[in-house]
């Protein structure tokens, strides 16, 4: 009975540790940041605003503004 009890505990502990490692790896993947996040956002924004029906120039006004804010937040003035 004791053996069974401690085996169960060991099994749960081992499983928990394994799951924790997996979650940590997943989180590491999700929070991985590219080297140029502002530019990545800019590219995505240009696509979104043009899909909304704006001209390239109009989309650029939005995207550049967001890029400026992003750069200020990351690197300051």
């Amino acid at each position: 009975m004791k053996k069974l009890f401690f085996s169960a505990i060991a099994l749960v502990a081992f499983s928990s540790v394994s799951m924790a490692n997996t979650i940590a790896e997943e989180n590491e993947t999700q929070t991985k940041v590219t080297e140029t996040p502002c530019t990545d956002h800019w590219v995505a924004d240009m696509k979104i605003y043009q899909k909304y029906g704006y001209t390239f120039e109009e989309a650029l006004a939005f995207s550049d503004e967001a890029w400026d804010i992003c750069m200020d937040e990351l690197y300051g003035d």
Partner: protein, 266 residues
Amino acid sequence: MEINHLKKFYQFIRIGRILKIEYTYFALLLLFISSPSFAQRKGGKAIYSITIQSDSILKKTLRPQIRDRYERAEKEIANLFLELVFDDTLSVFKNYQNKNISDVTEFALKLADCEKIIYTNLNNNEIIFNNAEKKAIFKKNEFLIQKKIENNWTFVNESKYIQNFKCYKATQQISIVNDEGTFFKTITAWYCPEIPFTFGPKGYCDLPGLIVELQDRNIVFGLKEISFFDKSIKIELPTKGVKVEYNEYLQILKERVMKRMELTEK
């Protein structure tokens, strides 16, 4: 102060009734003598206000940081005014006495596509403007962009009074071709035949009267005040910059934007 010759006309009719004079002849006589006719007017100056109408779908598209700036621009744009100076064949549309503007106000001007001075030349059937300065893309006045006027207005059987001017509605569909495909937007204009100058905000023209109100997407330009000149005015067209057609300018813009992006990534 607005000049409304119709208001004067009705005032004269009342005076005629008091003096027991045949009011029609009296009013016509006084109108002829005292009210300057539009035939004598050489041009004018119209001041427009701008409003950004709420667009919930657009706001959902915006990132949180830019959404905040957009909402602030919606409020600050109420402090912006634009000026349209015109004669029979030329007009110039520009930011009116707005100096030392904030970043948010500058963004508001960009949203309304009013950061540049736009000239309309009916003699050559074209709109002309210099490019705005754009960091790492364009120097100020580097190019002089020429765009042919292509207005295909549809006249709508609707009218309303704006600033005591009876206005009629016209719309046009504009196609937009960008990297994601072809789209259409509708421009709505309310023009006033009483003001026989065929101009309006942002280079829109070719209607049988001044455009008193113009809606481009959710940006609305509304006439705030108007005055007229009895003497000829001189509107000088820009000469600085390399002359390019509008489509060529867009191509140059794209190429330089892509180059800027490559440099940023390095």
